[in-house]
């Protein structure tokens, strides 16, 4: 099962990188959303994928009898989901405001902070 999920994660990363390399800001943001999800799946898979085996340790043992899913990566993923979701929401609003102000969502044309043909510093003393 892990192998299949690993291939899926690889696909997710491919799509994310492809989208992030495009010129449109909206596509870049979609790429970032997918990147966040692929990272979350990677951590989730790290903690073993098992079905219907509760991570309970019998009273007379110190470790579980069979391999169970590790709950800690799931807790990490939960934290990461919350963080990446809130960042994505912020970036969406930011991109919309930037689109309103700059009139473009093409990153090559967003040149307000770094204008083209900028004045050179004074030459000579």
């Amino acid at each position: 099962m892990e192998t299949g999920v690993a291939i899926l994660i690889g696909l997710f990363f491919t799509v994310a990188v492809y989208l992030m390399l495009s010129k449109q800001l909206v596509r870049i943001l979609l790429g970032i959303a997918i990147l966040g999800n692929s990272v979350n799946m990677l951590i989730f898979t790290n903690g073993r994928l098992t079905r219907e085996i509760p991570p309970l340790i019998p009273a007379h043992l110190y470790v579980p009898e069979t391999a169970t899913a590790n709950p800690l990566p799931q807790a990490l993923v939960l934290t990461a989901i919350v963080i990446s979701f809130s960042f994505f929401a912020f970036l969406l609003v930011l991109a919309f405001r930037a689109y309103q102000e700059l009139g473009t969502d093409e990153i090559n044309k967003m040149r307000v902070a770094e204008p083209e043909n900028e004045q050179t510093p004074p030459q000579g003393y």
Binding site: G36, I83, M110, T120
Partner: protein, 529 residues
């Protein structure tokens, strides 16, 4: 199936002894700023009270971090564990000399910025949360410096990142939105890489505690190969992005000149240095074999970063963008220390980080004062500042000398240590790059001083002529809120230049604490570690 009954002795897994009262200082920096930030947020409509409260809280932060530093120097590394479960089960917060020093210097800088912000942040900026964001930024910065858990480091990075987004767009100008998009997207990609590496690291070792990982890595037969090499490369890329090292530095000159000048000052002082701190922590403490393995790559990145920063600074007309490139050049010097990796080199990198935090913040504040006097950041339009205020011209010259690494100011000693360490390790290109970059920085800063201060007026003023100083000094410059922060930071620059022994001893302790981490491991894992 009744097996033998086992009674679990929880005393083995739990710390039952009460925590020494002084150890609570470890969480004080994060707690003061977090609670203070929430308090300021509730009072955000009271724009008169906010600066007073914010500055009082930042003052308390400075005192708490100073007390923490003194305690660390007296008692060695101190650790506190959340929920009293023994590490690696409980989440540890650890203060060593490296973390405590940077926390203290960072708090001083934040206090100065809070004071400066009284004049430059208007009531709308206050209402939209300048002080809450600044305090929460410090929560993230102090948390990063003091955590002993890799995943918590990620969380603190996110705390400081989201606060920095808030500060960056405060004011909502076109140029800010443009800069914030680039800053936001690239930094989020960086933290995602950090998270991937952390996930893989947990997959390998099953623990997130830095000390625990360090001992497990040290026990491996071949600790630089296999998946760990991937993890190390990912960490390097992620933190290099945070620190604005060469191929991934482009977000910094695109965004640092856009916000309010005091926000630029805090960012230039603190944010990139948190990335450098994380590099030192991960590569020297946890993955020393990978650092050795990657030393040539790190050295190459350091050389290119030094050159990019210095040459970029030479090509700028806008004063704030010029300073942004100097931040990058400083990062190159710290990476040079990491590439060499000896105790001497790491202590040079730590000293340089302290110097860079102070001097870059001071330079941005000075640029803000220049803008208040002349109404411009453009080198072609500035001029005649020497006639306006001779003392300020002197302060700027001190800072220019310091950032170029000229004696007798704070930039000189760490550069001496770093060049010495690089030559001692037979990395001559690296030492040469530090020197050349310092020379180019001298030229860039010398030019700023000649144009903005030395000549009579803006471009077009004839030689020997000077534009009459007409307007009296602008109202923002009255009072101590503008001059005191600059004065404090410049005094530190001069003090560390003339009396470097204290800082050298401090950074050597910080460096030997990570290069030879026995004290750190014992503090976190107990005596058996």
């Amino acid at each position: 199936m009744a097996g033998p009954s086992v009674s679990v002795d929880y005393a083995d897994a739990m710390i039952t002894a009460p925590i020494a009262a002084g150890d609570w200082l470890i969480v004080a920096p994060s707690l003061i700023t977090m609670i203070g930030g929430a308090l300021c947020l509730m009072l955000r409509k009271n724009t008169d009270l906010q600066p007073k409260l914010g500055i009082a809280l930042l003052g308390a932060l400075v005192l708490a971090s100073l007390a923490l530093l003194i305690r660390v120097l007296d008692h060695g590394v101190i650790t506190m564990v959340m929920g009293n479960w023994l590490p690696p089960f409980g989440i540890a917060v650890t203060a060593d000399a490296l973390g405590a020093t940077l926390t203290f210097i960072g708090s001083v800088v934040a206090f100065c910025a809070g004071l400066f912000g009284m004049k430059t942040v208007n009531s709308s900026g206050r209402r939209y949360g300048f002080y809450p964001f600044l305090l929460l930024l410090m929560t993230g910065v102090c948390g990063s410096f003091l955590t002993a858990d890799v995943f918590n480091l990620y969380v603190w990075f996110e705390v400081l990142l989201i606060s920095s987004y808030g500060l960056l767009v405060l004011g909502n100008d076109r140029i800010q939105l443009d800069g914030a998009v680039k800053y936001g997207v690239l930094n989020l990609v960086g933290t995602n890489l950090f998270l991937i590496a952390t996930g893989l690291l947990y997959g390998i070792f099953g623990t997130l505690n830095m000390a625990d990982i360090a001992t497990k890595v040290a026990a491996l037969d071949n600790p630089a190969s296999g998946t760990l090499a991937t993890v190390a490369a990912l960490y390097f890329l992620a933190f290099a992005m945070k620190a604005a090292a060469f191929p991934v530095n482009f977000w910094l000159p695109a965004s640092y000149h856009t916000p309010n000048i005091v926000v630029s000052a805090v960012f230039a002082g603190l944010l990139t240095k948190v990335g450098v701190y994380a590099l030192i922590r991960i590569f020297v403490l946890i993955l020393p074999a990978s650092r050795e393995y990657m030393a040539d790559v790190i050295g190459l990145v350091a050389i290119l970063t030094l050159m990019t920063g210095a040459l970029g600074a030479l090509a700028q007309t806008e004063l704030r963008r010029l300073l942004g490139f100097l931040v990058i050049a400083g990062i190159g010097s710290m990476l040079a220390g990491l590439a060499v990796g000896s105790t001497l080199a790491i202590s040079g990198a730590i000293f340089y980080a302290v110097h860079s935090i102070i001097v870059m913040t001071a330079l941005y504040l000075a640029a803000g004062i220049m803008n208040m006097m002349e109404g411009s950041y453009n080198l072609r339009q500035l001029g005649g500042l020497y006639q306006r205020n001779v003392a300020f011209a002197g302060v700027f010259l001190v800072l220019a000398f310091a950032v170029s690494g000229l004696p007798p100011f704070s930039g000189f000693w760490p550069k001496v240590i770093l060049v010495d360490a690089a030559f001692g390790d037979e990395r001559f290109w690296l030492g040469a790059a530090i020197l050349v970059s310092g020379f180019l920085t001298t030229m860039a800063m010398g030019r700023v001083w000649i144009y903005a201060f030395w000549r009579g007026g803006p471009e077009g003023t004839a030689d020997g002529q000077s534009v009459a100083v007409t307007a009296s000094s602008p109202p923002e410059l009255a009072g101590g809120a503008v001059w005191l922060p600059l004065g404090v930071l410049t005094a530190l620059v001069v003090y560390f230049g003339i009396q470097p022994e204290w800082m050298i001893e401090l950074s050597t302790r910080g460096a030997s604490g990570v290069v030879d981490p026995l004290g750190y491991l014992r503090s976190v894992l107990g005596e058996q570690g």
